[in-house]
Symmetry: C2
Subunit: 364 residues, 2 copies
């Protein structure tokens, strides 16, 4: 498989290193507008070829990863699609997905683009910090649409899994709302807490040192200002909605505090413990792999439809394989799901979508 | 020195273990209303004597530590003061200080009580978790008032330092405001974030697992509901003020987000980074110890006045020694301060209060 990486920072460089460490790419070509970055990526072994431009890098690639800052992604994806033909899938690694999906939707080659977002590496930057194990065990969201080509989703999904990540299909708008809550909102609250503490404590002569609760709660305050300025801007509406919801909750908290009832405050604390526990419990299935063989109509969007339905239900697709029939009107899809309960759930979900399912026990 | 510990949970038990490990107490007596707790404390070696009641425990003690839940402290401190005479100092370890200070102020023996608050162990509870090194390097706030007896402050300050903690004098009201910002507010924000994420994500079928930023920012969410219910109630007004200030900041953040200017958002992020950095830098002086010898009038409140002035300026008193003169109208106080710059600052502050100061280089 031939890979191209456009933008060779921490994530782009790590894709190259991981693909090479795992023997996934016969050639990794890359381009970066910064010559020094490109040279360093070659030296570090993240790339085989330093290309002279986007068209040069993507020529003949099976998969192209656009790994530039969020605000330059629409132009870069369009350029990569324009410079490639039917055989090439294009993805990105931006941390918001609706903007890029809308920007690409109008392009003729939109069916070859599937957005992506690995949950890794948002706190540091630069090709210097690239590592082959950056994606090990990390969630990697993919945002196929009904126009996405099944064969490209299949290739991208399996490549991401082969990098060591755990791919999950999700609707782009839903992704951005979920990230607003569980990733962007913590950054906003950390910033505001740091700012409030600086206000109060810097005003007097004395500033008591801070304890562990403050350190942990503000750990992400001020992380990487240029990257986070772009992330906030790209998902501004969804984050502002979350901030408004938190303001409402804080107004309730302020009233509860002023009422000063220790029992009520203790109950509030217990509810928070239960909330956090439930959230941290999510997403750790496992166990034996089961193969689900699906008979499907060979029509556009069928793979995305299945992947999104399973993603919505929280079912993880550990591996995937497509086998179009010779007459091209129907085909078979194999999905590997970890754990018997999850496999049964997956079978039910896929059946409800109208596909035939048979289960083959045993791993891929 | 004879010690008494009233309430033998994590903090009370750890005071006993640390005092015995460091050879500070000839006898550690303790009382707890729960018999099983008291037995376990004996077994663990946190106490030498399991007393039959408060009066039995405190009889003849040099220092008494009240380490019960915040809402039972006023009664317990009053009982300990009533059961002891002039030779006994009484302190507590509650995480808020104004309430107890006001409750004790009306008592005749108030001059023998000095509030305290070690920044350690707020997240677990129970004598089972006691450790002799719980206070190692931890800040331990002391809240003397102008009525506090100098000899008791001196004894308490040095005992706390000998436990391995770093004592700092602070006004009770100021302590509670500072804690509201740097300790209680992080807990409120962590609770609200966990609650908001549970709302949004539990509503749908799919709940994406959360990443590291969410984990860190919510780490203290729901910590120990019964202890924290009391802490919130005891400092409710100050915490609610902080919450209101944060609401204002979040309203600004929401507007900035909706304006969607990446440059402005990036600048906001940079300011948060600077705020956090400044806060985490506080409180880590060090270096050679300098002895400051102070000539002081022997009047009530003079020790508290000096300790509070240095505390306000962020100067750490590493060690302290009182030497009243034979005629009892004046006396000498030696303070040990780490680092030449800090020692010079301390000298200036004490001079401004009208005391004579001479500096003797070299440690205690």
């Amino acid at each position: 498989m031939k890979l191209a990486v456009l933008g060779v920072g921490l994530v782009g460089g790590s894709i190259g290193l991981a693909a090479k460490a795992r023997g996934l790419g016969s050639e990794v070509a890359g381009f970066d507008p910064d010559d020094a970055t490109l040279d360093r990526a070659l030296e570090l072994g993240a790339l085989d070829v330093a290309a002279s431009g986007v068209a040069d890098a993507v020529s003949g690639a099976d998969l192209v990863f656009c790994a530039a800052p969020v605000n330059s992604l629409p132009g870069l994806v369009a350029e990569a699609l324009a410079a490639t033909d039917d055989g090439t899938g294009v993805s990105d690694v931006g941390s918001t997905k609706l903007g890029i999906a809308e920007a690409v939707a109008g392009l003729e080659a939109a069916s070859r683009f599937i957005g992506g977002h690995p949950l890794a590496g948002a706190e540091t930057a630069g090709v210097e910090h690239s590592r082959p194990d950056l994606f090990e065990g990390a969630r990697w969201f993919l945002t196929p649409t009904e126009r996405s080509e099944g064969v490209i989703f299949d290739r991208l999904h399996n490549f991401v899994a082969d990098l060591g990540a755990r791919p999950q299909a999700i609707d782009a708008a839903e992704h951005d709302r979920a990230m607003a809550t569980i990733s962007h909102l913590p950054h906003v609250l950390a910033n505001v807490l740091a700012s409030r503490a600086a206000d109060t404590l810097a005003a007097g002569e004395r500033r008591p040192e801070v304890g562990r609760s403050f350190r942990d709660t503000t750990r992400v305050a001020g992380a990487n200002p240029s990257i986070w300025g772009d992330i906030f801007a790209a998902n501004a509406g969804a984050i502002a909605d979350e901030v408004d919801a938190v303001i409402e909750k804080l107004e309730q908290a302020s009233s509860t505090l002023r009422a000063g009832d220790a029992g009520q405050l203790s109950a509030w604390q217990s509810a928070a413990a239960a909330d956090r526990h439930a959230l941290l419990d999510v997403g750790h299935p496992g166990g034996e792999l089961f193969e689900l063989r699906l008979g499907v109509e060979n029509r556009p969007g069928v793979v995305a439809e299945i992947a999104l339905a399973l993603g919505r239900a929280g079912v993880n697709i550990e591996d995937m394989s497509l086998a179009p029939s010779s007459e091209q009107r129907s085909g078979a899809i194999s999905l590997w799901i970890a754990g018997p309960e999850e496999a049964v759930r997956a079978g039910a979900i896929v059946s409800e979508l109208g596909h035939s399912v048979s289960t083959v026990s045993g791993g891929s």
